[in-house]
């Protein structure tokens, strides 16, 4: 591993810490002014770092690299490690955090300073989840992300802010209990919580002395992470949390936090640990298909912009989990790509909802109408994001959904693949309703003077739409690259 890469790897955890220190040590007035720009710098540097490490890994021909944050470790220690998947995720985190900070510019009045602190902690927590290779450390960083996001949701503390945060807190506490219970059982079986060791221990789990305990462990872990990722039966808290969070926070929350805390962990589990535990995958697939269909159906009659996006997230997370639970390489790649795409277009949609909230003061779609003329950039980016979510071809969402469906088809569950694909008709349904009520329909009398929201919000929605369209058009090149890497 070249020295340069060594240093860059450290920045993932080091830089946000530096930003926090910087933010708090500077004088109050200076801090107030520059705190948002600090956040943007952190996000952009992280994106650059991810790309740099990706390039150097590809150049060196390695697929992963281990490193320790402070000093070198003995054997069997819980170290950080980086591979293509986690780099992709780190890039997404950087992207969403930058978008979050760009939208924060206009939405958070005097709360910018606290927002920056908490966001940096959140960034650290998420980076930790991406980098860690030990189940218990994963749990620790999970908790850090959880706490940071509770507090951010209740940043502006008027009525529903607290209520949403409280629900998220209670459900996360339950999830914590489940995860810890599950870890304990796994720890009993494998003696160590390293991904590799646990996977080895579970290879012949049917013949272990107490298979019942192991099954209980699987179930607990699965349920814990399902609650964190908002899969259908456990999704209660998600819509309330997204709706009550302030605009910038909901951008970060919807864009990446739930996915990191729940979905990425599940992907890691299915990819690394529960590879040869078919029970886990089958149940996960069932949960996935349920949340795809019911998430989309539930979104159809919502009346609040952000609440629709919340249910849409549940549905799209279902697709990611469906891809992961197929167990085939194509499925995992499809899930990863859909993770990235979902991060992109969901953030675009949340940024749009923020823009609408800034311009009109409300996210109630019944009160809005005909904003396409007055807010062209928001309108066009919301259309692109909607088409990508519904999986309409030229855009990115289609390709990743196609890979997932092909993987599901190849691994034999034909009916579920067909149902999942047809479920995107419900996605189209609620987004068409959204478009009709907010952008495409006739103008509403009270909104004549609304103007387009300029500055950070506009910039981020344009950039994210460009990524969605670019990814969609350049997908063949990506396919060839993956074939080069021998992954397909």
């Amino acid at each position: 591993m070249s020295a340069g890469m060594e240093f860059v790897l450290l920045t993932f955890m080091g830089l946000p810490l530096l930003m926090v220190l910087l933010n708090n040590l500077l004088k109050k007035e200076i801090a107030q002014k520059i705190c948002l720009s600090l956040g943007i710098i952190a996000g952009i540097v992280q994106m650059a770092a991810a790309v740099f490490v990706f390039a150097s890994l590809k150049a060196a021909g390695q697929t992963e690299a281990d490193f320790s944050q402070f000093w070198d470790l003995g054997v069997g220690a819980s170290r950080f490690s980086v591979d293509f998947f986690s780099l992709l995720v780190l890039f997404c985190i950087g992207m969403v955090i930058t978008a979050g900070f760009l939208t924060a510019g206009k939405t958070l009045g005097d709360k910018k300073f606290n927002f920056t602190n908490l966001a940096m902690i959140l960034l650290l927590g998420m980076n930790g989840i991406a980098l860690v290779t030990d189940l218990f450390s994963l749990y620790v960083f999970l908790e850090i992300t959880g706490v940071a996001s509770f507090v951010m949701i209740s940043l502006n503390k008027e009525g529903d802010g607290i209520e949403g945060a409280f629900k998220y807190l209670v459900m996360s506490a339950i999830a914590t209990v489940f995860i810890l219970g599950g870890l304990a059982f796994l720890f009993m079986q494998s003696g160590s919580l390293q991904y590799g060791d646990v996977a080895a221990a579970l290879s012949d789990w049917q013949y272990a002395e107490q298979p019942a305990l192991l099954i209980a462990g699987f179930v607990l872990v699965l349920v814990g992470f399902s609650i964190k990722s908002g899969v259908m039966p456990f999704h209660g808290w998600l819509p309330d949390a997204y709706q009550s969070a302030p605009a910038a926070v909901s951008v970060i929350l919807g864009g990446i936090v739930t996915k990191m805390a729940g979905v990425y962990a599940l992907l890691r589990l299915t990819a690394d640990i529960f590879v040869n535990v078919p029970v886990f995958n089958q149940i996960l697939m069932l949960l996935a298909i349920v949340s795809i269909v019911l998430g989309a159906v539930a979104a159809i009659t919502q009346t609040d912009f952000k609440r629709i996006l919340a249910y849409s997230s549940i549905s799209q997370i279902g697709y990611i989990l469906l891809g992961a639970s197929c167990g085939s390489a194509v499925g995992l790649i499809g899930a990863m790509l859909h993770f990235f795409n979902h991060a992109t277009f969901k953030t675009t949609l949340f940024v749009n909802s923020a823009a609408v909230e800034i311009a009109t003061g409300t996210t109630e779609i019944e009160k809005l109408g005909g904003l396409q003329e007055k807010m062209p950039v928001t309108g066009v980016s919301s259309i692109l994001a909607f088409l990508s979510t519904a999986g309409i071809p030229p855009l990115a969402g289609f390709w990743s959904k196609l890979l997932i469906i092909i993987a599901a088809w190849q691994t034999g569950n034909v009916f579920i693949a067909g149902l999942a694909l047809f479920a995107s008709i419900f996605t189209a349904a609620y987004f068409l309703r959204l478009q009709r009520c907010v952008f495409f329909g006739p103008a509403v009398e009270g909104l004549e003077d609304t103007k387009e929201v300029t500055g950070g919000v506009c910039l981020s929605s344009l950039a994210l739409s460009a990524i969605t369209v670019g990814f969609g058009l350049l997908f063949p090149a990506l396919l060839l690259f993956l074939q080069g890497q021998g992954l397909i």
């Binding site: 459900m171 349920v223 999704h235 209660g236 089958q282 159906v297 979104a299 009659t301 349904a429």
Partner: protein, 628 residues
């Protein structure tokens, strides 16, 4: 356009017989375009061009009639559907007839339309109709026949619209009825081609009528009968009599459509299919003929307007031709064809006389005009010869052709002979009424028309009437001349010229004529008016209700068809709205109902979320027990 002119140039230099065929169709079309191109006010130039076109067509027809043989083939599509023309003795004769009548009516219509404003359009449609008719007769490929056959509908629609654009009902009626007949013909053509295996007409001969052949025969026969104007496709002709300009009535319903319809009927029954005398199919055809004779004639009897009476009698005379051909006996076919030629002559003449009456008095309604004999002597003479000929009075042509049909009908079945004789009686009675009321009763003119300006029509109108009247006489006395042309069509060695040899038939028909005269005198003495001579039949106890219903159009097939179509349309509209309801109302409610039930799942209380989570865990544990 390049390909078309290229072909034409190539054929101009080709064999003599070949380019004539192509010219028969292209020349009238070219001159029709020219006629419209000439500026509106140059009436003389347009009429000259118009007449020249008809004359040229006549000359070409004569040339082809003499040439006897000739064919032409041009590529259209690859499935044997090619532009193929062929002339043989039969189609040569028909072409000649078309040409003659076209010229006569052309001369008449030039005079008739002098001050009408849309005469240019009339000329164009007239020539296009001529071209289409030539094309249909010359066609040697079933699809080409269909092409020109349906093309006539366009010009028919156009001509009917010239009359009165405000009341398009007649044009619609004509197009719908002809449309249905032509679509049946299309089905028949497809079935015949499938049955025979080829579209080329000379490749199809004596097909057995079973399986697909039945469908083919019935549908093509329906198409031919529809064009000829027999039941059940007849009801547009009487309405057209009021709407369209009169020369239209003389040329299309009276001449061209009859000729084409019967030409195709003969082709079907005689060449394409093997219709055995006495078989089911021949009985069906004869039945259609008989019904048409009786019903149309009885309607003709009660008409008050000259043109309507003539159009009903036209429909009835077609019945004779169909009856004759339906017998599938040589005498019947020759009789039918001879009757066709005679009928076209005297019907054209009758329409032209009605035209001259209309030109002078402005109306053809017998309730307002009568006793014109003294004012229009030549017209009256022409009317008289044509009326006698149509009634079947011996020296005239009508008598001889009717005798042949009577002979064939008697041979095929008594019921058909009785129908034919009843028809003869009714025809004679209606023309006696017409003659007496219009020409020989006391002089009466519609108000505003003074006697001095009702004088004889100009020479140009009288000439065609005179020629036709003379023709009726000549073809009667020297009937060997037309028969020599017709007889070879039915096969060798038949000679029915001269006086009919079956004396009993002649006696019966003379008796029927006398009976008709007696009935007319009885009616006249009873009512004192020529017009009401037939009222005793009109208001006879049983017939009164039937006649009233017919007056109010209950039996009009067009109205029946339109009612059926309207009913069917409303059923379909109901189905369509039901399917639309499924999309707009049912699907939306179902999904939003499901969705709002899901919304209840998280109504904000944390307890409910926890309950759902634990429920989920329980479900997963159950699943595990089941799966592992």
């Amino acid at each position: 356009m390049g390909a078309m002119f290229g072909n034409m140039a190539a054929f101009m230099t080709g064999g003599s017989g070949v380019n004539l065929l192509w010219l028969m169709v292209v020349l009238p079309v070219a001159l029709a375009v020219l006629a419209v191109a000439i500026p509106r006010h140059a009436f003389a130039a347009r009429s000259a061009c118009f007449l020249a076109a008809t004359l040229a067509d006549l000359l070409l027809a004569i040339a082809l009639f003499i040439a006897k043989e000739g064919s032409m083939l041009l590529r259209w599509t690859d499935f044997e559907i090619n532009l193929a023309f062929r002339v043989d003795p039969f189609s040569g004769a028909v072409l000649l007839a078309l040409g003659i009548f076209a010229v006569l009516v052309a001369i008449y219509s030039v005079a008739f339309l002098r001050r009408k404003e849309k005469y240019g359009q009339f000329y164009c449609y007239y020539l296009l109709t001529l071209a289409m008719a030539n094309g249909a007769v010359l066609a040697d490929n079933l699809v080409v026949l269909l092409f020109f056959w349906e093309g006539l509908m366009v010009t028919l629609f156009g001509m009917l619209l010239i009359g009165d654009r405000q009341k398009p009902a007649t044009a619609v009626k004509a197009l719908v009825l002809n449309g249905i007949a032509d679509l049946l013909l299309m089905l028949g053509v497809a079935a015949t081609a499938a049955h025979a295996g080829t579209f080329m007409m000379e490749g199809i001969s004596q097909l057995p009528i079973e399986g697909l052949g039945v469908l083919g025969f019935v549908c093509m026969m329906a198409g031919a009968v529809g064009k000829a104007g027999a039941m059940p496709f007849h009801s547009w002709i009487p309405d057209a009599a009021d709407a369209a300009p009169l020369p239209f009535m003389a040329i299309l319903p009276a001449a061209f459509e009859k000729i084409l319809g019967i030409y195709l009927l003969v082709r079907i029954t005689f060449q394409f299919y093997q219709m055995v005398p006495g078989s089911v199919m021949s009985i069906v055809v004869m039945a259609i003929g008989a019904i048409t004779i009786v019903l149309a004639n009885s309607m003709a009897l009660i008409q008050k307007d000259i043109k309507r009476l003539l159009s009903y009698s036209t429909i009835s005379q077609v019945g004779y031709m169909i009856l004759g051909i339906g017998t599938a006996l040589p005498v019947g076919i020759i009789g039918g064809l001879f009757h066709l030629i005679n009928h076209v002559m005297y019907k054209c003449c009758l329409f032209l006389t009605a035209g001259s009456v209309e030109k002078q008095t402005g109306s053809t309604d017998m309730r307002y005009i009568s006793g014109l004999g003294k004012l229009m002597p030549v017209t009256t003479v022409c009317f008289l010869t044509a009326a006698l000929s149509i009634s079947g009075v011996p020296p005239f042509s009508g008598f001889f052709s009717k005798e042949l049909v009577f002979d064939a009908a008697l041979e095929s079945g008594m019921i058909f002979y009785i129908a034919a004789v009843l028809g003869a009686f009714l025809t004679a009675a209606s023309f006696l009424k017409l003659g007496h009321a219009a020409y020989f009763g006391p002089l009466r003119l519609p108000e505003g028309v003074k006697t001095e300006d009702v004088k004889e029509v100009p020479g140009a109108m009288l000439l065609p009437m005179g020629i036709l009247a003379l023709g009726c006489l000549i073809f009667g006395v020297f009937n060997a001349l037309p028969l020599s042309v017709i007889q070879p069509i039915a096969g060798e060695g038949y000679d029915f010229s001269g006086w009919p040899d079956n004396w009993t038939l002649v006696a019966i028909s003379c008796a029927v004529l006398l009976l008709a005269v007696g009935n007319h005198l009885f009616g006249y003495r009873r009512t004192g008016e020529g017009l009401k001579a037939a009222d005793h039949i009109r208001y006879a106890p049983a017939l009164r209700t039937v006649y009233d219903c017919a007056e109010k159009r209950y039996f009009d097939p067009y109205d029946i068809i339109m009612q059926l179509i309207k009913g069917f349309a409303w059923i379909c509209y109901g189905i369509d709205r039901a399917i639309n309801w499924v999309y707009d109302v049912f699907a939306v409610d179902f999904v939003s109902g499901l969705s709002s039930r899901l919304r209840l799942m998280n109504n904000g209380s944390v307890g409910r979320y926890m309950a759902w989570s634990f429920l989920g865990v329980g479900f997963i544990v159950l699943l595990c027990l089941f799966l592992v």
